[in-house]
């Protein structure tokens, strides 16, 4: 056949035409639904005399927030209040992720222990904690702290200067001396220095085969630099120790019962999931790998660090990422026990101003950004540790 053009049927049977037709149909349906909802919203808002837009953010918030990492008073604007809530969310999420990772790893390894009691205890922990709603656990911890601990006058004093009461935990704080800032700076400098030392040591080992005691050197740098800064600043030893005054403590730093309950609940709950991930990750590394490494004469610790863990991490990292995301999202349950996180502050804002759509959009946008941020970071980390194949 000279004509290489296939005989065309009707347009109805043309897959490309059908694809375009159906997509237009779907898009049209979605747009129509969206238009319908938006027009209803406009009508309802007009009827209730609610102004749309984010101009309410500049108005005075006029509500107090229990704990804040930045300066805040009820005279500040709603946007400032929301920022306080956001920082509180970040605080509990970051601490929660770190502690849940540590606890989860310990329990995950404990489940693989050759000690019968340790293994059974760890698996009982995982089974019980995983099957009870996290909200119930938060209520429980909050009630334990609020009702089982004594009042400030009879506060428990497990360590000198540390007081546990139903108003939270009071710990000594560093004095007002400006030198503490410099000690902090020195520590950060030390961290950067350790990174360069480790890089130099690795390069040298690759080039010459000479090994360097990176770990010992790092610990040395991390201790020595802040210590030096402290000594140069006159070695102040004054601590701000909490003391009972009237009905409550003064001085020191406090950890509020809400924060403690939220952190404890989230860490305990998430750790049980991370434990399962860690266990299956380690189990997935073939026993032969351990045997081969031992046959090469490596120590037990070295086998774990250089052979087993790098392989297990590849299995562990992706599901752990989603646990980190879950922990961050679950931190929004703070609203149930009164910790002023983003959702809680936005909820108060919503109730005061009636700006439902704006308040809910702010919550969603912030959590989407956080989720996206964690996902991007963990994807980058996952790529770094992924198996390099041909």
């Amino acid at each position: 056949m000279p004509a290489n053009k296939a005989p065309r049927g009707s347009l109805i049977n043309d897959p490309a035409a059908r694809a375009i037709f159906f997509q237009i149909l779907v898009l049209g349906g979605v747009l129509l639904l969206g238009w319908y909802l938006v027009s209803n919203v406009m009508e309802n808002l007009a009827r209730q005399n609610i102004a749309t837009g984010f101009s309410f953010l500049d108005r005075e918030a006029s509500f107090a927030i229990g704990e804040s990492m930045i300066a805040y008073s009820p005279a500040n604007s709603y946007s400032q209040a929301l920022l306080v809530g956001f920082l509180n969310t970040i605080k509990v999420a970051v601490l929660g992720i770190i502690l849940a990772t540590v606890l989860g790893t310990i329990i995950g390894i404990a489940r693989l222990s050759s000690n019968f009691l340790v293994a059974k205890l760890a698996s009982a922990y995982v089974e019980v904690i995983r099957n009870i709603p996290v909200l119930l656990q938060l209520f429980f911890w909050y009630a334990v702290i609020g009702e089982s601990l004594p009042g400030p006058r009879e506060a428990l004093n497990p360590l000198p200067g540390v007081f546990l009461s139903n108003r939270g935990m009071r710990v000594p704080a560093l004095g007002d001396d400006p030198i503490w800032v410099w000690v902090g700076v020195a520590f950060l400098v030390a961290v950067v220095a350790v990174w360069f030392v480790a890089r130099w040591a690795r390069k040298r080992q690759e080039a010459t085969g000479q090994q360097f005691h990176t770990v010992l050197a790092s610990i040395g740098i991390l201790v020595a630099l802040p210590l030096l800064a402290w000594l140069l600043g006159g070695a102040p030893t004054a601590l701000d120790i909490p003391a009972l005054q009237g009905f409550n403590f003064r001085g020191g730093t406090s950890v509020s019962p809400e924060f403690a309950a939220l952190l404890l609940g989230l860490v305990v709950y998430t750790a049980s999931f991370i434990a399962e991930i860690v266990r299956s990750g380690i189990r997935s590394v073939n026993w032969g790998q351990t045997e081969a490494a031992s046959a090469l004469g490596l120590h037990r610790g070295t086998v774990l660090r250089l052979v087993v863990l790098p392989q297990a991490l590849r299995i562990i990292v992706p599901p752990t990422t989603s646990q980190y995301l879950n922990l961050t999202k679950n931190s929004s349950l703070a609203v149930a026990i009164g910790y002023p996180d983003l959702v809680s502050v936005a909820n108060t804002t919503l109730n005061q101003t009636g700006q439902a759509i704006e308040a809910v959009s702010i919550m969603m946008a912030v959590y989407l950004t956080i989720s996206l941020g964690i996902s991007l970071f963990m994807n980058w980390y996952n790529k770094r540790i992924a198996l390099v194949e041909r």
Binding site: N40, S114, N131, I132
Partner: protein, 383 residues
């Protein structure tokens, strides 16, 4: 390895002194390598580190278990005539009289007291059907019809108003039946929606695909609580003037929107696990897209996704406890409500323990079922 003590008892492999002399004819196993003592040595004291851990745990158990037993059983106050909160507080043990007093409030919420056989019957129907549905032999089309019939029966039982049953507003529903209804209805409605979303995400049509991806990632990126807030404060604004939608339905829609995004990702996993050859073979038979999906792809994809679906359901079941924050009276919030009675203040441990046991029982059985099912479904693939 020091971890493995030989149980055959080769002379010299284990330090045992007594058996050496009598070992002339038959080598007896050393006493310390066999029996309970051998087990203890092998499992609790095999290395110095494990020995320390064992002693530490035993010490902790000694510290924790006796007070716990005292609290739970020995000092506890059971239900009885004239047992008051004062008697409970004086005892220093658990107050089971409180649970006896409040268990109907916790389990059934504010549902009229005389009519509480109706939520009980509804719970039994749901639990019974879940039990029947867990048997693979019953995975037939008629099971769907049974579920539909059960939904009607439960609706009649809970609302009433017909067959001589007094009408009960759904604002009075609460406790365990509400938790079960929210989670089961949520899952059943979200399931078909999630299949469409999953297919849409795997679609070649760019607009459909991007719409589905946006929806799924949007919902999965935010906490359930914001979805519930949206449902409770924004849905009324979405509706035309004069139309109202009650709180329970709003929460249910919020839960459905949430569940469908998570289920869609589970089903997408199943779709991706189907070998490409299946798609190509269906295409070469000349099947249309929907024929291919319905007859070839979905039956295979869904059967491998059942265990992860059960796991998603467990998470979803626990997550329904969040409706307390928008003011519904589910199991979780009924347990809080029981604590507000001024006569019975402060028995939060008993109340939370009771609810925790209920949640745990459901979730634990479902997770064991999902593990069992996974083995069962994989049996054909094992060598």
């Amino acid at each position: 390895m020091a971890d493995h003590i030989s149980v055959q008892g080769h002379p010299g492999s284990v330090t045992s002194t007594d058996d050496r002399e009598t070992a002339s004819a038959v080598v007896k196993p050393p006493a310390l390598a066999l029996g309970p003592l051998g087990w203890v040595r092998a499992n609790l004291f095999n290395t110095w580190f494990n020995s320390i851990l064992t002693i530490l745990i035993l010490w902790l158990a000694y510290k924790i278990i006796p007070p716990l037993v005292n609290w739970l059983i020995i000092n506890s106050v059971g239900p009885g005539e004239g047992v008051t909160a004062q008697a409970c507080r004086a005892s220093g043990g658990a107050c089971w009289a409180f649970i006896h007093e409040k268990y109907r409030l916790i389990l059934f919420g504010l549902y009229p007291y005389e009519e509480q056989w109706r939520p009980i019957a509804s719970i039994l129907i749901i639990v019974g059907l879940l039990g029947v549905s867990s048997n693979r032999n019953f995975w037939k089309p008629w099971l769907l019809a049974v579920w539909a019939a059960a939904a009607v029966v439960i609706g009649v039982l809970m609302w009433g108003g017909v067959l001589g049953l007094p009408f009960v507003r759904n604002t009075l529903w609460g406790g365990l039946p509400l938790t079960l209804i929210l989670s089961v209805v949520g899952l059943v409605v979200a399931f078909p929606l999630s299949i469409l979303l999953a297919l849409g995400r795997r679609s070649d049509l760019p607009i459909v695909k991007s719409l589905c991806v946006t929806y799924i990632e949007l919902i999965r990126g935010v906490p359930l609580i914001t979805v519930l807030f949206m449902a409770s404060v924004m849905f009324p604004l979405f509706l035309p003037t004069g139309v109202t939608i009650d709180k329970l339905l709003r929460a249910q829609i919020g839960l459905i929107l949430f569940a469908s995004a998570y289920l869609a990702e589970v089903i997408r996993g199943g779709l991706q696990a189907i070998p490409k050859g299946q798609y190509e073979a269906a295409d070469s038979l000349g099947l249309t897209y929907w024929q291919k999906t319905r007859k070839i792809i979905l039956p295979q994809a869904l059967s491998i996704t059942i265990p992860p679906l059960v796991n998603t359901f467990i998470g979803f079941f626990k997550d329904t406890s969040l409706v307390i924050i928008i003011g519904l009276f589910d199991l979780m919030s009924a347990s809080k409500a029981a604590l507000t009675d001024p006569a019975w203040r402060g028995f939060y441990k008993e109340s939370y323990l009771f609810v925790a046991v209920v949640y745990f029982a459901f979730c634990f059985f479902m997770s064991k079922y999902s593990q069992w099912l996974e083995n069962e479904l994989h049996r054909g693939h094992k060598r």
